[in-house]
């Protein structure tokens, strides 16, 4: 595996952990150390972070069914032509 893929994988693991609820001060320190260790780390991290932030926009496509049973797999999303212009 190439280094860049490995770094991306580690960055994704950091982000998903930070996104969870067990995030501690010690974790934050460790993450900061990792980010500052190499620009390659930082760049991979902010790229994924930006994408994950933008994933919130999927909300715009949420079907207006408020009480979807949570065990239904979510349906496929379609972008309606002309939407959001």
């Amino acid at each position: 595996m190439h280094d860049s893929l490995q770094i991306e994988e580690i960055a994704a693991n950091w982000l998903s952990r930070r996104d969870g609820e067990c995030w501690s001060v010690a974790d934050q320190v460790e993450l900061t150390v990792w980010l500052e260790a190499a620009t390659a780390h930082r760049v991979a991290y902010i790229r994924l972070e930006a994408a994950w932030r933008q994933a919130r926009r999927l909300k715009a496509l949420m079907p207006s069914v408020p009480n979807r049973p949570s065990n239904d797999p979510p349906r496929m999303l379609t972008v309606v032509t002309g939407f959001g212009k």
Binding site: H2, S4, L5, E8, R47, L77
Partner: protein, 213 residues
């Protein structure tokens, strides 16, 4: 032991460094990442070893980021591609013995760079379409986790409980999803470009498609 004043100085320095980093990060996300599709296509056209493209992209990004930390480039896109070109030249010089396809040489780089069209993702709608497309290609369980976390904004704990999986597993799905979504979002479905080139030679794409069939 450090005198308090010195410790304070270090803290202030660290604080301003962090603010600087945040501004630089934002610049990078805004000015550089939207060109990822074009960048990856440029590498795909010019570099014979497809499995090195991810690495080339990453190396380009880090060079751009480090240069921007010293002075923000005025023309980010041009700077990005100049950096990419220099990187390829560096790599070529380093690896003297390589099996390139016939007819390929350093001079091609100049021509090819000029040919890069000023393609950009066609705004928010295109991005949303790319995002939805990538979302649809995620494996079902992974898709479900993304939906619950990002759209329904449920906590990790809630998602884990509802799906009957551990929180570590939720994190695993999230980690996988964000990589796929990033490829789709910044590569902007370049497979839909008129020449029909493979957009991002990024791994797992065909695999993802199989999963949905």
């Amino acid at each position: 032991m450090c005198p308090p004043a010195a410790a304070g100085g270090v803290n202030t320095q660290r604080h301003s460094l962090r603010i600087m980093n945040a501004a630089l990060d934002a610049w990078f996300v805004r000015e550089i990442l939207p060109h990822e599709g074009a960048l990856v296509r440029f590498f795909a056209r010019t570099w014979p070893a497809r499995d090195e493209i991810h690495d080339l992209r990453q190396e380009t990004y880090l060079r751009v980021y480090e240069a921007a930390a010293k002075a923000t480039p005025r023309a980010p896109k041009a700077f990005l591609f100049t950096t990419a070109r220099h990187l390829l030249i560096d790599r070529l010089r380093r690896q003297k013995v390589v099996s390139f396809e016939p007819g390929w040489d350093l001079e091609d780089l100049n021509v090819l760079i000029d040919e890069i069209s000023p393609e950009r993702c066609a705004g928010a709608h295109e991005e949303l379409r790319a995002l939805a497309h990538a979302f649809n290609l995620l494996p079902p369980r992974c898709r479900q986790v993304v939906w619950m976390r990002r759209v329904e904004e449920q906590s990790q704990k809630e998602v884990a409980a509802q799906l009957g999986i551990g929180e570590a597993m939720v994190e695993k799905h999230v980690a996988k999803a964000m990589r796929r979504l990033a490829d789709a979002l910044f590569g902007c479905r370049s497979s839909e470009n008129p020449k029909g080139e493979a957009a991002s030679p990024v791994r797992e794409d065909h695999h993802a498609r199989q999963l949905t069939n």
